[in-house]
Each structure stands twice: as structure tokens, then as C-alpha cells.
């Protein structure tokens, strides 16, 4: 065993330079004495001619939080899918408690104590919270469903409390907010007796406060002896929660299980991207004339009216806790939600009627929070996904002009570093972060763009691509577009927004000026009125 780990290190060292060799050796010294629960050696995965994983080594130890990092498309989710038997590897092996295993279905993996929490939610929307919490058990239960009786309800309540989710057990999942669903998904995983918990970007849909709470839960589980694999693009989170880190680049582990305390941020970024990278401060333009104005807008029956305006070249930040109503404001501005009273004006003109289609005609782009349900056409190519809002512009009479369609995106895809840059590949075969890039691209190209309403535009996107999306937003403001940025990413918010509205219970409770610090915003969100 020890020998093979050295070999892994040596192989890495010879290919990728001294620094990685050193790190792998260090990991050897500081690894816990305990035996690994899950050992992954040289795992490979080919999708037709493309290699998604070309050799991954990784060991998970009980009580340890193991971070897995890498660019969009590096192969992180693919690795999770292989570990739980959702797809079969094309090579390599993995061992559970020293024994070679190969799961043929996810339920096998769950039975063996490996519980996945995917990047893409897998709840049953039409069932209740309780039924969802027991859906893993239901799959293998006998005649009676496992969630009957008060004991089951108590266990369910305890799992909800563990992730700090306060919803009723009878509530249908379809009535929950995306952030609440994410927490429920995690609660479902926790409810199982699991030895290994695989978390694929669990905080992507959570705000900073909820994410912190989740990180605490994860630390608690590790203290109980669970081995945890934690995938995230947020390096500050990883520093808070993880002990060791593995970095994938192009489907290969270039850092295997190095202790985080000995690894600098730059080293990690370098390993992920293959080159150094630093975020340059953004130069925001001075806002011009008012473009978009919401007057006394009421969104829910009995709700308080909200009024605000956004100017050309301005980024208006909107933030609130899950369920605060920030997302709904975005929907209304984009024409994706009816307003009960009040009005929306664009360039001084009343926008009425204002369906989503009218909004697109008036040049209003909208990136919705849930890219799978509201954004993607799973069966179609990246290109058809991107061009869905400009079909008229790329058509002549009744006919699509494919060349023009393709040409509209070649530079966009390049600028956003779509990986792989194959516009004709089906969107479902892209990694999560790359799907997000396509969704952003769709809205950046809208004909006569005036306003961009962006909900979590960099959700699940790696550091490099995040910066590229930010560049695209800055570029849009310089072109005179008004941007409404609804995000839970405080860093993103404070680096881009000219002003920030804090929303609570559907009301604007405060407005923060430009250059507020992330801590200011976090405090303002929690403040009592």
C-alpha cells in the first residue's frame, strides 16, 4: 500500500515538476495512521473517444474531510458518479475497507455506506419532505413504506434539525426554495448510516450563512468518523472545512491528498489551471441615465411594495437569505413573474404587458437560479441552448442560418473558456460549470440588450471562468447596459455592485454603497429591523 502511494507520487513528480512531488511526499508523512476507507487507484473513464478521467488516485480516511478541486470539466462529478456505481469506470480500481468493490448501481453503493449528494438535485418534487427523506430506504423496503409511524417522523425531524432546515414534514418539495432543497438533499444523505459521504458542490445554492452552517455539520460528521469527499470551487470554504486536498486537471490527479495547511492558494490554483492566475480589480463605469425602474411593485398578496431604479452602466446588487424574496424580484424584472400591483418601466416607458417574451424583445436577459429546470434544453447542443433567445436574429424569413448561429457564439464560447469548446456537443454531456457558461452566453447575446438580470451567474463555475463571466458583466456595463445581480456570493457582489439592496421578507430593508466589504453585507443581512 505504502509503496503504491509513493509510486503515485513519483509518477506525478516526473510529469508535473518538483513541487507536486514534494507535496505528495508530504501527504505521505502527515496521513493519519488509520487505514483508508476508500482507496481509488488509477481510475479512468472514457466517453467514446474523449477521456473524462485519465488516471485518478485518491484515498479517503475516516474522520477526514478530503477536498476535491479542479477546473470545470476536470472530472470531479464523473469521479463521484463512478464511485457510487452510477457509471462504470473504463479502468482502474477502488477498494472499500481494503476490499475491491465495483458497484453496479447506486443502491448497491448506498447499501455499502457510500452516500452521494450530486451537483444536480435528485429529490422527488411531487412528494413530501418526509417521503423524500426516506426515499433511499423506500427503494429497498418491504411492503410497508419506511416513513410510517412517529419514530420515523422523529428521525426525520432530527435530520432536518441537523442541517438547520425548518420546513414541515408534510410540505411538498416543489414548494421549497432551491436552497432549502439543497439542504433537504443533504439531510437525506445524513439520515443514512454512511461511512463515506460524497458532496458535489453542496454549497453552490446556499448563501454564506447557510454554507457556514453546513460546513459545521460536515465537521461534526467528520468528528463522528465519517470519511467525506468535498467538492467545491470556493477555496475559502475548502480552507475552513477540509483537511487534505486532491486536485484534478484534465482528468488526472495532479495533487493527491496533500494537507491543506501546507498548501498555498497559489499552489492550488496553479495545479488546477496549469498556470498562475490572479483576479484583477474591476474598473466599473460611472452610471448614466436610468434604464429600469420598479415602482411600488408588489409580488405576493399582502406583500410590501418595493421601488428602485437601475441606471445604464450600473450593477445593482440584490441579496437576501433563502426565501427573502430576492429571487422573485429578479423574476419580476425579467418578466418571468406577474406583478400584483405597481409597475416596471424601461427607458421611461411603462412595460405593459410584460411577459418574458416581451422582456426579451425589449432586451432583457435573465439567468435563472435553477439552471436545470429553468434553463437547459438537456437533449440539445450547447449551440442550440445558447441561441434560444436570438432565433429570430439568426434566421432569414423562416429559415435558420446555421453559419450565422455558429458565428454568433464562437468568440463568446472562447471568451468564457467553454470546455470542451465543442458547440455541437449535447449540453447534458458538459460539466455543470460549463452548462452555466452556456446559459450566461445565451443572455449576453440578446439582440438590443439593455438589461441583464443575473441570478447566481457563477454558480458552480471555477475561479478562472468566474473571472471571465465577471469580465463579461463589466464589459456589458461599459456598453451601457444595466445589470441586476442577485447573488449569494459576497465576494462577487462587493467587487461588482455599485449599490446593494438587502431584501428581507420581500422588502428592501437597507441599501449599501459601493465598496462595502463582504462582512458589511453579511452583517446587514442578519441585522434585525
Amino acid at each position: 500500500m505504502l509503496l503504491s502511494r509513493h509510486l503515485c507520487a513519483a509518477r506525478q513528480g516526473s510529469r508535473d515538476g518538483r513541487c507536486l512531488w514534494k507535496m505528495a511526499v508530504m501527504s505521505e508523512q502527515s496521513s493519519p495512521v488509520e487505514k483508508a476507507v476508500l482507496e481509488v487507484t488509477e481510475v479512468k473513464k472514457a466517453y467514446g473517444p474523449t477521456l473524462a478521467l485519465s488516471g485518478v488516485d485518491m484515498n479517503l480516511y475516516p474522520g477526514q474531510v478530503h477536498a476535491l478541486m479542479g477546473e470545470n470539466g476536470a472530472g470531479k462529478s464523473t469521479l463521484v458518479r463512478i464511485l457510487v456505481g452510477a457509471t462504470q469506470p473504463s479502468g482502474g480500481a477502488f477498494r472499500l475497507n481494503g476490499e475491491r468493490v465495483n458497484f453496479h448501481s447506486v443502491s448497491d453503493a448506498i447499501k455499502a455506506g457510500i452516500v452521494p449528494i450530486y451537483q444536480h438535485l435528485t429529490l422527488f418534487n411531487e412528494l413530501s419532505v418526509l417521503e423524500n427523506l426516506y426515499s433511499f430506504d423506500t427503494a429497498t423496503a418491504g411492503l410497508l413504506p419506511p416513513y410510517l409511524g412517529s419514530a420515523a417522523a422523529e428521525t426525520a425531524k432530527a435530520s432536518l434539525a441537523r442541517v438547520g432546515l425548518s420546513v414541515s414534514l408534510e410540505q411538498k418539495v416543489s414548494t421549497l426554495k432551491l436552497g432549502e432543497r439543497q439542504l433537504l438533499e443533504i439531510a437525506r444523505g445524513l439520515q443514512r448510516n454512511c461511512a463515506v459521504l460524497l458532496l458535489d458542490e453542496p454549497t453552490a445554492a446556499l448563501n454564506a450563512h447557510e454554507a457556514d452552517r453546513l460546513l459545521e455539520v460536515i465537521r461534526g460528521l467528520a468528528a463522528e468518523g465519517v470519511a467525506i469527499l468535498y467538492i467545491s470551487h470556493k477555496s475559502d470554504e475548502i480552507r475552513k472545512v477540509a483537511d487534505v486536498v486532491t486536485v484534478l486537471r484534465d482528468g488526472r490527479s495532479v495533487i493527491c491528498g496533500a494537507p491543506l495547511k501546507d498548501t498555498s492558494v497559489d499552489e492550488l490554483v496553479n495545479a488546477m489551471l496549469g498556470h498562475a492566475f490572479a483576479v484583477v480589480d474591476k474598473q466599473m463605469p460611472v452610471p448614466g441615465e436610468i434604464v429600469l425602474e420598479a415602482k411600488q411593485m408588489v409580488l405576493v398578496p399582502g406583500g410590501a411594495p418595493v421601488s428602485f431604479a437601475v441606471a445604464a452602466g450600473e450593477v445593482l446588487g440584490v441579496i437576501g437569505l433563502v426565501g427573502s424574496g430576492a429571487e422573485e424580484i429578479g423574476q419580476a424584472l425579467a418578466g418571468a413573474r406577474d406583478i400584483l400591483s405597481g409597475s416596471i418601466a424601461i427607458d421611461g416607458q411603462l412595460a405593459h404587458p410584460y411577459s418574458r417574451r416581451d422582456a426579451v424583445r425589449r432586451g432583457v436577459g435573465y439567468v435563472p437560479p435553477d439552471r436545470h429546470e429553468d434553463g437547459l434544453f438537456e437533449l440539445h447542443s450547447a449551440l442550440s441552448n445558447a441561441s434560444a433567445s436570438i432565433l429570430k436574429t439568426v434566421s432569414k424569413f423562416f429559415f435558420l442560418q446555421r453559419k450565422k448561429e455558429k458565428a454568433s457564439f464562437s468568440s463568446r464560447f472562447q471568451a468564457l473558456a467553454l470546455n470542451p469548446n465543442e458547440p455541437d456537443r449535447e449540453i447534458q454531456h458538459f460539466s455543470g460549470g460549463n452548462q452555466q457558461k452556456v446559459l450566461v452566453a445565451r443572455n449576453l447575446v440578446i439582440t438590443g440588450l439593455r438589461i441583464l438580470v443575473l441570478t447566481e451567474p457563477t454558480r458552480g463555475v471555477d475561479v478562472g471562468a468566474r473571472d471571465k463571466i465577471h469580465d463579461a458583466i463589466v464589459e456589458a456595463t461599459h456598453a451601457g447596459q444595466a445589470v441586476v445581480l442577485i447573488t449569494t456570493d459576497l465576494e462577487e457582489l462587493t467587487s461588482l455592485a455599485h449599490r446593494t439592496l438587502i431584501v428581507r421578507n420581500g422588502q428592501i430593508v437597507r441599501e449599501l454603497p459601493q465598496f462595502s466589504s463582504p462582512d458589511d453585507v453579511a452583517l446587514a443581512m442578519l441585522e434585525q429591523e
Partner: protein
């Protein structure tokens, strides 16, 4: 795996149902007497033209994530209206009125589904019964005969350029269908709406209008199919072709369209229809009882769909990969 020749990549684009069709063709050519003959091929194509055009319509609706059960009733009412018109007015008016009545039924379906938000299954099932009832009442339950007229027979029995007219119409339908789905903006919108209605709406696509127009366009294909059949049987009957909805849905499924919507091509419809047509033809050639036809059809649907929806199990590429994996020396095991 990384350096597969190009052509294998292209072969993956070919619908899997085409392999079923090729295999079926080979087997029938060898085993079924009189199958491999030009006259028989012409016969297959002529007979299948009705199913072909109706299936092209059905395919549009299926790609829109819907289903159309009223095609059989629509064709029956089409025959009755056309025969009434040819009895009392003229042949052109017969064709025109038969065509329009099917379009009207399509528009009603479209309205119920796109604007009144009825589930397609229910809306078209209700229309199946409603239209059938209207058709039966119109003729008092008994077939009505068209007067002898060469020009009325032309559509179903005539020839142009030495080729039977139904075959020409089906070929024309295929071309129009192909252009509509893969070259026009409308076609792209049909796919997007069928794939994810919410996402289509949020992208600014007029989802309701696309759905409505989709049902009307589908009715256009069904109408031509109805007119060919009316002209061939030269009568109007309320029970003209009650199995049509099931046969068209089967043809689409066998061809490889996803009944969940969002996916499917004209080529797949063509292949699906030919598979079913060859099967029916062989049952006749083998002098098997027609009761056989339904049973065999059911079996073929299951077999063809299972073959196509288990992507990797049968594929030579993945078999090779699995083999390579098994025979590879295992590190430190």
C-alpha cells in the same frame, strides 16, 4: 479509444432503428417468398404512404412532448366530408373541404392543449370520441359511397411519371417534414419547447403559439394521409381506420423518437414506418391470419425500443472497452 477512426463517430449518428430495418430487410428477403421483388417494394411503399404521412404528423406532436389520439377519427371525418362534397359539389372542393376539416380538428386540439392547458393525452382522447361521434351521426353509422370519378380516384390510385401518386405525396411529405423540422426556426422552436417548456418560455419563445401551430402543422400531414385513403376506398366511413393513432405512435417509437419529447428526426419516422410496413407486408405474403399482425406488431415495438434504449449493452465499442478493461494487468492487486 482516443484515436477512433472518424467514420465510427459518424456511424453513431445513424439512428439505431436503421440497423433493425436493414436486418429485417435481409431476413425477409431470404425467408419470405416474393418479398424481394420490385413490384412488392412498390406495393409496400404505396400501402405505407398513408401511415407515413399520418406518422409524420404524429412525430411533430410527439417531439412537442404531446401525443395525438384523434388522428383516426380525423381521417374518418375527412373521408365523410370529402365524399359528401364530391357527391354534391366537385372533386377539388372535396379535397379542399376534407383537408380543412382535419386542420380544424388540429386547431381545436392545439387550442385545448396550448391555451386551455389540457394534458395532450386527455384532450386528444376526448377529441377521438367527439369526432368519431360526429362522423357517425353525420352518416347515420353507415358508409357513404363516392360516385365513380377518375379524378377523385387519382390521389389514392393514380400514377404520375409512372409512380403511384400516394408514393409521390409521401415523398413530398418527407421532404417538407425534414425541412420544417431541421431547417426552419419553427422546427427548432418545436424541439426546444418539447425538450423543456419552462426553459423555452424563459428564453422568450412563444410556447403556446408554437404548441398550437405544431398541432395544426401535424394536422396538415394527417389531412393528406386522410385524402389518399378516402380516394383509395372511395367512400366515407366513421370506422375507416381506428388503429391509426396506435400505428402512428408505434411507428414513431420503433423509429426511435423519444415519447418524452424533444428528440427525433424525419429519418427515424421513415425507418419506423418502413419497419412496420415490411412486417405487415410479410404477414400477408406468408398468408398468416391478420390477427397475427397486431401480436407481431406489439412484439416488434417492444424489441425495437428495448434495442434502442439500452445504449451501451449491444454496442461493439463498449464491448471492446469492457474487454480491454478485463484483460488489463491490474496494478498492485
Amino acid at each position: 479509444m482516443a484515436d477512433l477512426p472518424r467514420y465510427i463517430g459518424r456511424l453513431r449518428m445513424v439512428p439505431k432503428s436503421l440497423w433493425v430495418l436493414v436486418a429485417q430487410f435481409a431476413v425477409f428477403s431470404l425467408l419470405v417468398p416474393n418479398f424481394f421483388a420490385v413490384s412488392n417494394f412498390e406495393n409496400i411503399l404505396r400501402v405505407s404512404s398513408i401511415l407515413m404521412l399520418a406518422s409524420l404528423g404524429q412525430a411533430i406532436v410527439i417531439i412537442l412532448a404531446g401525443v395525438e389520439f384523434s388522428v383516426g377519427s380525423a381521417v374518418a371525418l375527412c373521408s365523410i366530408v370529402a365524399v359528401f362534397a364530391v357527391q354534391s359539389v366537385s372533386v377539388p372542393m372535396a379535397f379542399a373541404s376534407g383537408f380543412v376539416i382535419v386542420l380544424v380538428i388540429g386547431a381545436i386540439n392545439g387550442t385545448l392543449i396550448a391555451y386551455a392547458k389540457l394534458p395532450p393525452f386527455l384532450a386528444t382522447l376526448a377529441m377521438l370520441m367527439l369526432v368519431h361521434g360526429v362522423a357517425s351521426l353525420a352518416v347515420g353509422g353507415l358508409p357513404i359511397e363516392a360516385p365513380v370519378s377518375e379524378s377523385f380516384y387519382w390521389m389514392g390510385r393514380g400514377k404520375a411519371f409512372g409512380i403511384p401518386v400516394p408514393i409521390l405525396l409521401a415523398a413530398f411529405g418527407l421532404v417538407v417534414h425534414y425541412i420544417l423540422l431541421s431547417k426552419t426556426t419553427f422546427g427548432r422552436q418545436i424541439y426546444l419547447v418539447g425538450s423543456n417548456e419552462r426553459a423555452a418560455h424563459l428564453s422568450g419563445i412563444a410556447v403556446n403559439r408554437i404548441k398550437f401551430l405544431g398541432y395544426v402543422a401535424a394536422a396538415g400531414f394527417v389531412a393528406v394521409s386522410g385524402l389518399i385513403l378516402t380516394s383509395r376506398v372511395a367512400s366515407g366511413q366513421p370506422n375507416l381506420i381506428p388503429n391509426l393513432p396506435f400505428e402512428t405512435i408505434s411507428a414513431c417509437a420503433v423509429g426511435g423518437l423519444s415519447l418524452a419529447g424533444g428528440r427525433g428526426s424525419t429519418l427515424q419516422v421513415l425507418v419506423g414506418v418502413l419497419i412496420i410496413a415490411m412486417l405487415n407486408n410479410s404477414i400477408v405474403l406468408l398468408n398468416l391470419p391478420t390477427a397475427f399482425q397486431l401480436a407481431v406488431l406489439g412484439f416488434v415495438i417492444i424489441a425495437a425500443v428495448v434495442f434502442q434504449t439500452t445504449p451501451d449493452r449491444f454496442s461493439f465499442l463498449s464491448m471492446r472497452a469492457a474487454f480491454a478493461q478485463k484483460t488489463k494487468p491490474q496494478g498492485d492487486a
